[in-house]
Symmetry: C2
Subunit: 143 residues, 2 copies
């Protein structure tokens, strides 16, 4: 088993999800918030797109793809030259309604950390049986 | 707050703990298991040594220290040229009794992942308030 059972995600699935986020979510939403246009609504994020988009690829391939996509995101982010005033600008989230750029950027950071934690958890479970009595000391194996 | 409240660890504390593990735990115990000596008992691991050892240092300093210690550990690990037979050899854990080299190495791996997950959790909590409504989507913020 390479996931946490049932429909849960493998590390491969998580990386695909992160790539899709780089391409359609975070930077795109920042651009909507910063735009002068009247329509500030975000397009709902597809949480299952990666299941199709990553099909037939290797883990190495999608890791490289993520690296490239993230580098591009960071380049764009720096390019915005965000000011303190920008961080208070808002967009319309399909579920939450009005959200600030500040909240979006914080959520992007926590989203990364959440999936790093998930990857650690999924990987650690591959070694659960092999760890023998140490299981007891490892909080992550009980999650 | 840079930890999870009370006596919980900050990222700084976790890195100190990992350094102490590199210096006194994993490789030292592998050496005991592989040794020809009659005494196969492990010295109990001090989980609080880092509170003294890291005092007055910067996070950057201890991150470099961990990197150096880990590189040395991996060099030693490769140097052991472990065979399949070696993985079945045993040592005496102060609490668990007889454990195999295989279990020790698996536990070392899970121990890393456990603390990566902890670091992600501690860091994510720094952005909890700032994430606004997204908190609801972030599993890690509820842990």
């Amino acid at each position: 088993m390479n996931n946490e059972g049932g429909e849960t995600w493998s590390v491969f699935d998580v990386i695909g999800h992160l790539i899709h986020g780089e391409k359609t979510d975070w930077i795109t939403r920042i651009e909507i918030i910063l735009s002068e246009g009247a329509n500030k609504e975000f397009v709902p994020f597809d949480r299952f797109a990666q299941l199709e988009e990553s099909k037939g690829k290797s883990l190495e391939q999608i890791l490289k793809e993520f690296l490239t996509a993230r580098e591009l995101s960071l380049k764009k982010l720096r390019g915005f030259k965000l000011t303190e005033n920008d961080f208070n600008k808002t967009g319309i989230h399909p579920k939450f309604g009005s959200v600030t750029l500040s909240q979006l950027v914080a959520a992007w950071t926590v989203h990364d950390l959440d999936h790093i934690s998930q990857i650690s958890r999924v990987m650690s479970k591959q070694y659960k049986e092999q760890s023998g009595p140490w299981i007891e000391y490892m909080k992550i194996l009980g999650q």
